[in-house]
């Protein structure tokens, strides 16, 4: 089996694509990159109903859940329904991003301070309208140029 090199993209299931578009584009500033099954040809091929977004260099698909998914309690803002996506912002922009969430009426928990010895600075936790848990974090190591992975090809 080939080694996985890196994360290519994520798929996030939602209950309402329009609501998700308003949230991911309008609140988080994602860009719509594509859509599937809004075309007759796709419907004849039985493709799933989803849209693709990019946020920075992160590509993710937002797919319409064919059945209702369990939702976390309204008041729970931090957690993981199987997965949580964390988006990184620069430390200098973090306060502004948090203020943006507040002004757009998105309930969040935090900012939470992370241990100084670790790579993470602070996080806020929230969720999308379909109950998917999300996080925005700034990283202490944002200016660190990591060494290239070791060359394991010993021939």
């Amino acid at each position: 089996m080939a080694e996985a090199e890196t994360l290519s993209h994520s798929g996030i299931c939602v209950h309402d694509l329009k609501e998700a578009e308003d949230f991911y584009c309008g609140v988080l500033g994602a860009r719509l990159q594509g859509a599937v099954n809004f075309f007759t040809e796709d419907t004849l091929n039985g493709r799933s109903v989803h849209q693709a977004y990019s946020l920075g260099d992160f590509l993710f698909a937002v797919a319409l859940a064919p059945d209702f998914m369990p939702m976390p309690p309204d008041g729970q803002l931090k957690g993981a329904m199987g997965i949580r996506h964390a988006f990184a912002v620069e430390r200098a922009a973090f306060d502004q991003v948090v203020a943006g969430l507040k002004s757009k009426g998105v309930p969040f928990e935090g900012p939470v301070d992370h241990p100084e010895a670790g790579p993470f600075g602070q996080s806020v936790y929230f969720k999308d309208p379909s109950g998917n848990f999300l996080e925005i974090v700034w990283r202490r190591d944002e200016d660190v140029a990591y060494a290239a992975p070791p060359d394991l090809d010993v021939g």
Binding site: V14, H15, D16, L17, K18, E19, A35, F38, F39, T40, E41, T43, L44, N45, G46, R47, S48, V49, L64, A65, P66, D67, F68
Partner: protein, 313 residues
């Protein structure tokens, strides 16, 4: 779920539907049917860009134009239909007249909440699907008023972008974007809900190489506010023959009534967007429409933006 105010208007001064140009095999026979069954009035006025047509007047200066055409696509299983609003008493009268004509009546559960269950569908002699919506607040003695027309496209996002961003129409109802719509599709598949043709489909699964199980799906639909009426755009559930790409006018055609200032603004907007159109064309005095812009939408549907003329009652 409504996206915005239910009576939102674009800056085209959109007043609603102006007219519908419908394909029939025999204009005289079809006109007699529409006049007898729906109570539309025959008009002797000619209609621009509708050769050999029979013209019928609905209430509020709206018209139905029946154009003879040899080759007609079979639209019975598509979402394409035309809807009129009338008073409940008038609805019952139409039902009796349809019975006398031996025409069947079909009732379905509806996606748009405002269409409720207080109406029915029938086919004209040429297979065009007509919907009647009964409303208590409608003039009991009046002829039916055109409420909406549904067209189909092969790319619903492009169509929405065109109608919303180029023509400035407001989407007010949408089906197929939400899990709840798929729950209703399942109810339809289970035989618990009867839905109008073109609104649901059984779909093969992209990944079902081994089992060929079909899943129920919704055909996507967006309804745009059009004055007090609606322009409904359905994602086609089958491939269909689109009109020639270079054409700007033809049959069938949907006429939207705009203000004179709105017509000029539409020309500007279409020019800015680089969208092909013809007009504004001024018509002869004394007709129900004074001037028109003709264009073909991204789904190949012919759309006409028309201002009211002297003969619009």
């Amino acid at each position: 779920m409504p996206d915005a105010g239910s009576r939102a208007e674009s800056d085209l001064g959109l007043r609603g539907l102006s007219h519908l140009v419908i394909q029939v095999s025999d204009a005289g026979r079809a006109a007699a049917f529409y006049a007898e069954v729906l109570g539309l009035e025959r008009s002797t006025l000619p209609w621009p860009e509708a050769e050999g047509a029979a013209v019928l007047a609905a209430d509020g200066g709206q018209h139905v134009i029946l154009v003879p055409s040899e080759a007609q696509p079979d639209l019975r299983e598509t979402g394409v239909h035309h809807a009129f609003v009338l008073a409940p008493g008038a609805r019952d009268k139409v039902a009796r007249r349809l019975g006398a004509h031996g025409a069947d009546i079909f009732t379905y559960s509806e996606d748009p909440p405002e269409e409720s269950k207080d109406g029915f569908y029938f086919f004209d002699p040429d297979g065009n699907r007509i919907q009647l919506i009964a409303r208590a607040d409608t003039d009991a003695g009046g002829a039916p008023v055109l409420h909406h027309t549904a067209i189909q496209v092969a790319d619903i996002l492009w169509a929405e972008q065109f109608y919303a961003e180029v023509l400035g129409l407001t989407p007010v109802h949408r089906v197929g974007w939400a899990t709840a719509d798929y729950a209703r599709a399942q109810a339809w598949a289970d035989g618990k809900e009867d839905m109008a043709p073109g609104t649901r489909r059984m779909d093969k699964r992209y990944s079902s190489i081994v089992n060929n199980r079909l899943v129920p799906r919704v055909n996507m639909q967006v309804y745009f506010a059009c004055g007090a009426g609606r322009l409904a755009v359905y994602l086609a559930n089958q491939h269909f023959q689109e009109s020639p790409e270079e054409a700007t006018t033809g049959v069938p055609r949907t006429g939207l009534r705009v203000s004179p200032a709105g017509l000029a603004r539409a020309a500007e907007r279409l020019n800015t967007a680089g969208w092909r159109f013809e007009g504004p064309v001024s018509h002869d005095p004394g007709l129900p429409i004074a001037a028109s812009i003709y264009l073909r939408d991204p789904g190949g549907n012919f759309i006409e933006l028309a201002t009211a003329g002297d003969a619009a009652r």
